[in-house]
Symmetry: C2
Subunit: 214 residues, 2 copies
Amino acid sequence: MARHVAGPEIEALIRFLAKLPGLGPRSARRVALHLIKKKEQLLVPLANAINQAVEKVQVCKTCGNIDSASPCTICTDPRRDPSLLVVVEDVSDLWALERASVVNAAYHVLGGTLSPLDGVGPDDLNIAGLLARTAKGEVKEIILAVNATVEGQTTAHYIMDQLQEQAKDLSRSNPVFEAIKISQLAHGVPIGGELDYLDEGTLQQAIASRTRVE
Amino acid sequence: MARHVAGPEIEALIRFLAKLPGLGPRSARRVALHLIKKKEQLLVPLANAINQAVEKVQVCKTCGNIDSASPCTICTDPRRDPSLLVVVEDVSDLWALERASVVNAAYHVLGGTLSPLDGVGPDDLNIAGLLARTAKGEVKEIILAVNATVEGQTTAHYIMDQLQEQAKDLSRSNPVFEAIKISQLAHGVPIGGELDYLDEGTLQQAIASRTRVE
């Protein structure tokens, strides 16, 4: 076992940095040294940023987004179309869609995908919250923007079943109830993608969903 | 430009995380999300560790090591041989040698290497501090454990010249002064290294410094 050369404060810093995704013991030491050397420019501002995050950041009770307010900035944004709801697995997916600025809608973060092997069932995801939102009648269209993985697609199917179930119940009690349109992201060749590197499933989808150009 | 979806606290956290070595904007977002999701297990302890580091960590005035005390734990360790001084470029090199537990000596951290192109001269390194320590007469041997790079070797040569200069001065005023032994790390094939992957310089050194086994 190596001797402890750095003080307990540095050892603790390295230990917690090593737990971050993408960092191991070696890179954590490098990051710690870098932070300590740039104390005023980096360590102190980072400390402030983290303290602020500890204090302010919370999960939006409406959509599951992470923000410093609940309901979050997106849920309270009056310029967004509240009748269009984009369902995503994770906050990182929400951020990705927002970075691309492709849709001006409200979101709903599931917090994962159904995964029976890992013990993740419907109650572990924010599906009840989604059904509570759709029951209010404001939402007219849902885009299931889940990942194109087996788990993502399974979750999408489960949610579709639940929404159709709910639509049946609602139309029974309310004759003018209009069923919500449900769509999924298109599958195909990614922009800049080379066919040679794509898997068969993607190519198959790209052929099957081909679009006429003339 | 992407819209700001996360609160200003999260944006600030991502911005500072992206400045850490080895992290870019994408991995900084991933780390920030991970931290926020594991608020109690990770974000809060990391905040405490960083706050402690901000408060306690300092540079040892004797050797240039980073620790929560000055003089540092190594400089004040009575079990270490104060007559043997290992000169390293950086604190990370000191940590590497200590992890390997190969030498029970005092250290001296230069804080870099001579690099005229980058404007790093002798006055920018902790060479004056080294000469002040050797002038006291306690140090009997110095290991110049600098990197095997051009800059490292240049720095080693400069320090050797300075030490010989100092030895001349000291022996003039003090006839019983004993010159300090100076050594460098051995060059050769690293343990586990394959000859096929080594550069010519290393192989040349390994042949020139070959050791008899029988």
